[in-house]
């Protein structure tokens, strides 16, 4: 007999899945019902996720065997410390669905409302399922659910350029999914199993052959596209800037992180540090690419005028920070990679919250004024003080000024880089930070201290349903920064278990 909380990892995925399947039927009764239904489903899923997280920190990782078949014969759902990201996903999902109610009236046709909520639920379902699964092929299936719904959410509006942005994303995304599938196929033939833990064991048993290395490269390439790393980031700016703002918040905050979670799973769960396949050249290469990604993203963001375009390029830059953090590892001394790993993982959480806040604020500004260019938004700070205040808090956080949350992760990543003697990485990171600082100053300056071009008289504060999520997220940014030990307590066991250390590991202790 299983306890209720043991069912939670799979229940939270299935709730979203069935909820999505029922949304079109529910909305047939009454159009308005689809919003309430999506709220209900996402809250339910958030509740299940909280139960699972609570159990994780009280009793350790949950391993759930679907249909009762023990792995490697059946599919295993594994809720471990990395899976805590689902807490963020479902939580942000609730806020973003709440925010959508008013906003989508502005950008989407009325008869597509129920489709919009269905797709958002499917996107959440894909992300949650992806993050908790312990089976390689299951990972691919959920990856497809989330990618497909992501492509469609960009093209759901009638704007001219959206279909093109979505198509670009689709072509690159489909190739990357295929490369991941090919990697799974190769690895299956090397090991004969699909369960991640079992795969890791079997990889150690056989002498390494070329196939395992090629599979690793295919995986890394595939997940780099999903995460928008430097040479394959070109789909991101258009897709994230043109999508409806709540969708941008989901895509930028969470969907690109899925690529990072995939990389962590492949590198540190399947190939494993200290095993018989040395992947340090790959992570070194990733580190270099990450440094370039940081600089490129920040550099292009600096020259944009479209407010959402700035945030989209800034996402690229921030993915660079995260990848740099998780790629700073040593093969034989796992403790050495601890600081960088903690920094990278915290930044996943921080960036998700900060970037969602930024996109939601941008959405509120666009909803009220209809402008998206920074030069048109001058002086909005006096008209919409709460939205612009939240925007400022998020901007300060992402620039990494000490009391805010953006500071901690960068500090840890710099410490990690210095640990490895890679001062040039630290330098790239600092230059990136300076650029970020510059362009967020530019935004704050334009919004608060510049006079509007022509007086915008009729603009007032955004509606309540948009303000509540924005304010909650902005408070989240502040809390994570001031009480930095909270996220650290959550992240520490995750970073330690990824590196193969005991979950209670503390450096120097």
């Amino acid at each position: 007999m299983l306890e209720f909380s043991q069912h939670c990892p799979v229940l939270m995925t299935i709730t979203l899945l069935v909820g999505a399947a029922l949304t079109p039927i529910v909305s047939r009764f009454r159009k308005k019902l689809s919003f309430l239904w999506a709220m209900f489903i996402s809250l339910l899923s958030f509740f299940f996720c909280s139960c699972a997280t609570w159990r994780l920190y009280s009793e350790g990782p949950i391993s759930y065997w679907l249909s009762g078949w023990e792995p490697p014969y059946g599919i295993e759902v594994r809720f471990d410390y990395v899976s805590t990201i689902t807490f963020l996903m479902t939580g942000l999902g609730v806020l973003i669905i709440f925010y959508s109610r008013k906003y989508i009236e502005h950008e989407i046709n009325e008869d597509k409302f129920s489709l919009y909520y269905t797709l958002v639920l499917l996107l959440l379902c894909g992300m949650v399922g992806f993050s908790v699964t312990g089976d390689m092929f299951n990972l691919y299936v959920f990856l497809e659910i989330l990618s497909l719904s992501g492509y469609a959410l960009i093209a759901i509006t009638e704007e001219k350029l959206n279909a093109m942005a979505s198509f670009k994303y689709l072509v690159m995304g489909a190739i990357s999914s295929l490369s991941i599938l090919a990697g799974i196929a190769l690895l299956y033939n090397v090991t004969g199993t699909l369960n991640m833990a079992d795969m890791a064991l079997r990889l150690q048993q056989f002498p390494p052959i070329l196939t395992s290395y090629v599979a690793l490269v295919l995986f890394v390439v595939g997940f780099s596209v999903k995460a928008a790393m430097f040479p394959v980031h070109i789909w991101l700016p258009d897709a994230h800037a043109l999508a409806p703002s709540p969708v941008s918040a989901l895509l930028s905050g969470l969907v690109i992180k899925v690529g990072i979670v995939g990389m962590i799973r492949i590198l540190y769960t399947v190939y494993r540090l200290g095993g018989n396949i040395n992947f340090i050249p790959v992570t070194n290469f990733m580190g270099w690419l990450a440094a370039i990604t940081i600089l490129i993203g920040a550099f292009f963001a600096f020259f944009q005028d479209d407010i959402k375009m700035i945030f989209a390029y800034s996402s690229i830059s921030n993915i660079g920070y995260i990848v740099m953090g998780i790629s700073l590892v040593s093969f034989t001394q796992p403790e050495k990679g601890y600081l960088g790993m903690v920094g990278g993982l915290i930044h996943i959480f921080n960036h998700a919250i900060i970037k969602s806040t930024l996109f939601l604020c941008a959405g509120a500004l666009i909803y009220k004024t209809g402008f998206r260019k920074l030069s048109d938004l001058r002086g909005m700070g006096k008209k919409m003080p709460i939205t612009c205040g939240a925007l400022t808090i998020a901007s300060i956080s992402i620039a990494g000024i000490p009391p805010t949350s953006g500071f901690i992760c960068k500090w840890y990543i710099i410490l990690g880089a210095i640990e490895f003697g890679k001062w040039y990485f630290a330098a790239a990171l600092l230059i990136g930070t300076l650029l970020v600082f510059a362009y967020y100053i530019k935004i704050v300056n334009a919004i608060f201290f510049r006079e509007p071009n022509e007086p915008i008289t009729k603009v007032d504060e955004a509606p309540m349903s948009m303000l509540i999520p924005i304010v909650l997220l902005a408070i989240g940014c502040l809390v994570l920064g001031v009480f930095a030990y909270l996220p650290l307590a959550v992240i520490r066991p995750a970073a330690a278990t990824i590196l193969g250390l005991p979950s209670t590991y503390i450096p120097g202790g």
Binding site: A20, G68, D111, C125, S149, R202
Partner: protein, 244 residues
């Protein structure tokens, strides 16, 4: 010049991939890691544990049932995506290019389709229901069902097609795949077992096997009907054009 570089790079990639695959054990060998690790149990015990003579069906519905649940969700997602991009067809506003064309459908085509349609649907149902015993299963049958909808609509026109497969039923049937999985899977939770368990020890021993077959049948029918309807709806959504 640019083309040359692309071809050269692709050639290098080809060499790498071929080197990777020929490093594997030779094709057709039965000594591979893949054939000796998990598979023996499936081959030996599937009929007893999974209850299907077709081992592939057993794996799809039983050992890897969660994957299949994801798979039917992918089809459902595809439909929702197509609708989100193109919008639903509307009987008052839309027609199809086939209907607008001046070429009259020949009598032969119409009669053949009218004659064959029942048999195609019968065949699809056979494949759906017989998936446990012979090649086939829910999705294959569903694809044939969807194809029959397409053939019917192409010969008899969009308007009649939409009348025969009305929107209000399709909206419900489209979700049949994920929902049937949910219904069959959630039963086990009430017995205190893991999701998607079909063998339920909490009921009378004599009925266990029957219940398992029933649950699997619900899933097969759900996938079949759901898949077929989704394919039909995707076709309607893509085929429609604005009426003049």
């Amino acid at each position: 010049m640019k083309k040359g570089v692309i071809i050269f790079a692709l050639f290098l990639l080809w060499v790498l991939l071929v080197a990777a695959v020929i490093a594997l054990p030779p094709m057709g060998s039965s000594e591979t890691p893949a054939y000796t690790h998990v598979v023996p149990r499936y081959l030996e015990k599937e009929v007893e544990e999974g209850g299907a003579n077709n081992i592939v069906t057993g794996i799809i519905l039983n050992y890897r049932g969660y994957d299949t649940m994801g798979e039917v969700t992918v089809i459902f997602t595809a439909l929702i995506c197509v609708l989100a991009v193109l919008g639903r067809e509307n009987i008052k506003r839309h027609t199809s290019k086939v209907e607008l064309s001046s070429v009259e459908k020949s009598v032969i085509v119409k009669s053949v389709v009218r004659l064959l349609a029942p048999f195609i649907i019968l065949f699809a149902l056979y494949i759906i229901l017989h998936g446990a015993e012979s090649p086939g299963g829910g999705f294959q049958g569903g694809a044939i069902l969807g194809a029959s909808v397409i053939v019917f609509t192409l010969t008899f026109g969009f308007t009649l097609g939409m009348k025969k497969f009305p929107l209000k039923y399709r909206t419900i049937l489209e979700s049949a795949g994920p929902l049937s999985f949910f219904i069959s899977g959630v039963v086990a939770l009430f017995c205190g077992l893991n999701f998607l368990t079909y063998m339920l020890p909490c009921i009378n021993h004599a009925y266990q096997d029957l219940v398992r077959h029933l649950l699997l049948l619900i899933i097969e029918i759900g996938i079949g009907i759901g898949g077929g309807t989704v394919i039909g709806s995707i076709f309607f959504a893509m085929e429609k054009v604005e009426k003049e």
